[in-house]
């Protein structure tokens, strides 16, 4: 299925008033470029967070060049980056994390170093690990809009609180340097 046909179909839908904008999800750079040539892409939705940064190599430069926004999903690593998950946490079988490789006991323990880092920066800034993780993402580009999932008001308010936390270029460097030393355990799916 050529992506030009998909983009062309959405173009028709936009002209018909059925949808207002065109988005893509988890698409590689060349495909974004081809789709964008047929129907301008408003946003790409892809996983991006402090512990999953694959979009940085080819995707972010392409989006910047073409003027496409990025909507990172799982910006809090499916809840792990809140620091509230430990090896004693159990997941109901209806919870998709019950069969996610980053939520095995081994991965949860091994990746604790990421939370330690977020907690350290958080202590300096008076913020929670989740707020640092979101502030880090917001600081990457002004056209990034993360979509943390939430079903609890206290969690939503915590996430909203990340917007007032400003990370300096030194903070961002410190996080980058520390993360470069950390080998995150477990595939993301």
């Amino acid at each position: 299925m050529p992506v030009e046909d998909v983009a062309g179909a959405v173009k028709d839908l936009i002209h018909a008033g059925k949808v207002k904008h065109f988005g893509l999800s988890e698409s590689p750079a060349d495909l974004i470029r081809r789709a964008h040539a047929v129907q301008p892409v408003t946003a790409l939705q892809s996983e991006y967070s402090i512990w999953w940064r694959n979009v940085e190599e080819a995707i972010l430069p392409t989006l910047e060049e073409l003027g496409i926004g990025l909507v990172p999903y799982s910006p809090l690593g499916r809840g792990y980056l809140t620091g509230k998950v430990d090896e004693k946490t159990t997941f109901d079988s209806t919870d998709i994390r019950s069969h996610n490789p980053r939520f095995t006991q081994e991965a949860i323990q091994a990746n604790r170093v990421v939370i330690d880092l977020l907690e350290k920066i958080g202590t300096e800034k008076g913020a929670t690990p989740a707020q640092i993780a979101l502030a880090w993402l917001l600081a990457q580009k002004p056209w990034i809009v993360p979509i943390p999932g939430s079903r609890k008001l206290e969690r939503l308010d915590e996430n909203i609180g990340s917007m007032v936390i400003k990370l300096t270029s030194d903070d961002l460097k410190e996080i980058d340097n520390a993360m470069a030393q950390i080998k995150v355990v477990g595939d993301r799916y």
């Binding site: 207002k20 939705q45 209806t94 943390p148 939503l156």
Partner: protein, 150 residues
Amino acid sequence: MEKRKLGKSGLEVSALGLGCMRMSFGDTPTDKQEMITFLHKAVERGITFFDTAEVYGPFTNEELVGEALEPFRGKVVIATKFGWKHDPVKGPHPRVGLDSRPSRSSGWLRPPSDVCVLRPLTFSTSTGQTQTCRSKMWPALSRTLSMPAR
């Protein structure tokens, strides 16, 4: 709340959006009314960008988000994802083929969705024919065009 523009499109949304999947999919079940109240509180706090998909449920998440946000039509942006044909057992599934989703979506998601998100890489036709997405989508779209526009 701080707003951000999604690229050059001019679409402006709150700097943080709200992922709605787990309100009806991939996690322990929730009470729909509670989730509607929660979504209203998110709007009160200035969130104007909400993410859902046809496969979340399937369908029930779009229904929830559409119903909850109907009072805020024109003031909020909903992003959804479509494109897979429906298997009676598996629901929307990439192996079953392409589907003309936005037509149905604009019924469930009461305000027309502002961003539609596709996963074209995973598209494949069940018959193996090289039928284009465009020709597959048009018949269903034409049917919907005869309905009152939302």
